[in-house]
Amino acid sequence: MRSPRVSVETKFHIEFAWWEKQNKDIRVFMQELLCPESREALSASSPEQTVDVVDMETAEVSQVDPTWEAIRACCSQRPDYITADTPLLDSIFRTFLANGNKPLSVLELHHRLDKRPPEVILRMLTKGQVYMGIKPA
């Protein structure tokens, strides 16, 4: 079956199966994004433990990695989480971590990040290798 044509309206997200397939641990990447306070708070917790996160629209609960939860709830709120100097693809990855990996279109990413034109973002996400597991949802 032919995959649907991607456009600036196609939604993307972080595909966790890609991380497994690549034999990479996303948590290692997430650790680097922790702010000092969250890093300290998490040092005491067990790496296997998960936390409950409540969806802000439906109140549905999902169990997520505490590092991710800390990024979403704390570190991503800091002004230095995404700056003008953060490379575009890193910014997109960080955006998905911050929003709980809710799929976003290139247009939506463009509006949030205001870094490059939507066509450029689309080209970077679709031409060449997959970066950080960011794929069409």
Partner: protein, 594 residues
Amino acid sequence: MSFQRQRRTQTAEYWRDEFSMEKEDVERIYDWLVEEGEPRSTEEISQKAIEYRCQKEEMALSRQRGGQIYLPQDSYKVGQRVVFPALDYAIGEVLSIRVGNNPRYGAFEVIQVKLDGQEQPREFAAKFGPDHPLRRSVPSLEEGEGSLSPRQLNAEYGASVRERIAAALSKNDEFVCLGDHWFLQGLLPEVPPFQLNIAEAIIDERRQPVALAELYEKSSQVLDETGLTSTGKDSIRSYALAHALSQDPRFVEISSAGTSAWYLSNAVPEAVRHKPPRLVPVYMTRKGAWLNRELRDFAIEILDEADELPGTQPAALGSLESIQVVLTYPHRREGTLPLSKRALGLLAEKPPADRFMVTFIDQSSNEDMQGWMIPDQGYAWGLGEWYRRHELPIGSIIEVRRGDAPFTFLVTCEDRKRKSDWIREAKVVGGRLMFGMQRKAYTCRYDKHVLIDEGNVGELDSLWVDSSAPSADAAPSALRQAGANSVEDLFEYLTRLFPELAKLSGQGLVHAKALYSALNLTRRCGTVPVFAELTRRACFDPVGDGNWVYDESLRHVTYSTEEEMSRRPSSHRQDLIVDRVYPYGIANSEGKSS
């Protein structure tokens, strides 16, 4: 356990924030249009969509009697039935309860629920302390009393619903839209190419836009006569004809205000279809801008259409026999004639469309010239060749007189013996606008203060700035991207332009009208923004007869009160003229609306 709740469809948040066109909504609209069999307006469709959503909620409510509405702050018991409004009123049963784990939220519970029709149980927060949108979106209210009907909901919240409907349907190939009316592509009767050819011939013969109703009636008559009659309701066949016309590049819709009229694309000049950018003001005229008395009188005399304030009413039909206009560079260059709201009193008949054809008659030769009037946009088009033939300079005074036939106007520039005079000539030197004097002779009547010879038009174009240019304080990248001249502050520009004009006078005098005319060589602007700067800036002083002088040392002083603008306390001039000032567009004690 009993509960009270408000229907979600009764809340502003639902229609403003939550509502989006789902596949199901589109299908409902599709079915409805099939049933109706006629095009329907976005307003009518939004009414249907709202009715549908209200019915859907009613059905869900009737199903969920006996269940508890889910709210994250409430507590639940195993085995309890729960309704989830945020999940499209899904109903489920609580299977288990556990302690929630996230220090950020404090203590809370997690209920595991098996939703009807779903295999996998899902988890939801309970006894949840922190603020959550679901707490706010489900206030309590007994159903029934005080509820708004779908019609009332449409009146109250329909605007955002209509926007979303139009956006969704316009992306769907099964729907077609004309004006504000939607129909189904599959239900459109076929319009034979022959009918379009007939339409083309009718318009071509008429040499005027033809109303859709007439075009439909006449082309259908021809089809009937040739035995090509198609069946179906007239309203649908007329809609199909309009749709076919809109898809055929030979035709263009000319009018919009309630009446659809069609014309031939290749017969409509570009300057009629779209207002030439050169006529769009870069600096806007503001109501209440202060003008001194003399400048106010000049503004009234010139009556630049760019100075008209929003809401200005056109003069009554037939209230004027003739008007005189002073030709500025933008209009001369575009071959257009300024049409102020007052000038519309020249029209004896109600305009047939937003844009309509008129006949100008050269009074000196009796020659007809085909033109267009676009009253809403403040101009008429079609005099370019006439301007050239009569060598009309900037500042020419043109008289337009109503002709005997409808939409016919006599134009004259009052030919007289060629008379030589010293006049201003514009030139571009080193990318800057400068002026010199030279002897020139014209046969037309002109306003000597507005009169300027534009010199090399190509060079002037290199300095032209229109309203689409970025402002001078825009980001450098925007300026580079625009690749054009930027719009600098009007005052800054005037302080560069004024000294250039002042060099032409031994006493450094510049007439206010000359400044306005010179500014319009490179930027479209009404008189008021220019005259308002003269009035409020201390570096400009009036010295009589419409002349002004410039004092660089006062460049940073601005008068802010009526008294200051009138008395000009910072002035160093002995010959200063003290004049009253008036707010533009506001009636004053003299009964004049300045």
